[in-house]
Amino acid sequence: MAGQPRESGEGRRRDFLLTAGIILGSLIVLNLPPGSQRAVRQFLRETVLSPLLEINGAIARMRERALDFNVLRAQMDSVTALVAAGRTLAEENRLLREVLGLAERELHRVRAATVIRTGTPGAESVFLLDAGSSHGVRPFDAVATEAGLLGQVQEVLSEQAVAFDWSHRDFRASAMTPDGRTHGLVEAARGGYREQDRLILRGTAYLSELDAGEELLTSGRGGTFPRGIRIGWIAEPAEASAGWSRNYYVDPAVHPGAATHALVYLDSAADSLAVDPDSASGPGPPVPR
């Protein structure tokens, strides 16, 4: 079933030139500088795609409201118990900080946001938040759910922000065990399929071996993520660097596809062990063990 040319020579030439021009234009778009790419993306999201994103956000909010009341009640009971237990700890912490001459512990301001996830190609590790610069959100702010660390903000508009989750290839977080003895750097480890993605903890000390199931938290090093957000649990050892360091696969605490609601940490992580500048005598007497 062979076809035949249907246009005159002049028409074909014009068609060819137009086609070549458009493909050249697409190559230019592909190689635009990051700032221009961001501007085009923002324009499209705020204009043509805005109604669709509104629908997506409304569905996400409805899904949140449909959560089982008993599950929410159980979560609230757990949080209430934790807060009650923490009241005396806060007092102890304040007294010990005074003795050691440490600065007052800073509390992080957070902003609740709905997670909006689109299913377009190329946006697999990316999600939107319905909070932006007008709410105090800034690039590189940490995003977490009640289960643990979800990702990091990348682009901020006035009422919206774009973030990537931990499965993104650029995701990195400094991590530690809850006792603070083992530190390392967590990054995404791609599986054969996206559903098999998990995290890998790199650069832990060779002599400090970790067991499966051990919890990992953000260490706050580097100042990007606040200290103490749960990242996940050690799954199994990965490769070791000949006597220097060990790597471990980590089961993430948060499955990005299931997240509908998140908290954005608005302030950069403060050093919780900073010395109080007003403390003239420096650290106080050593505390007896």
Binding site: L18, L30, L49, Y193
Partner: protein, 157 residues
Amino acid sequence: MSIRVSLLCGGLVATHLLLHVALGLGKAAPDLAVVALLLASRAVGSAGGAAAGFVLGLLEDAFSVVSFGANVFAMSVVGAVAARTRELFVGDSIPFLAVFLVVGKWGRDMLVWLVSDAGGRAPFNDFALLESPLLALYAAAVGLVARLVFARGPLSR
């Protein structure tokens, strides 16, 4: 392009955006944008096909942080090449249309893979030989049904 085919292609694009952007279904929903592009390209010529691909690719890339422009390039090329097929193959028989849609969708995915950032793309074997062909079959099946139900008759001018 007939009004019926225009409405079909417009409807496919609107449904695609609804399923992928508004409902966020991801790969659970077929890629109807490429189906619409392939059907429209047979009727509008290579420049029109490339232009339609450019616009559709731009919409898809609005959420792509790492490989911005990959969809724009792939869809433009697919639109242009799909339009040239009417000079090689006449008629819109179901077997031809099925192969056309499968190859078009698979070719688009391959182009996206090729120009995407190397660190963020899936392993080639898994993607090119398993995931992408399955997605192409899915899109082609839905596209064929839509074509048969909503726009019978020739696509080409």
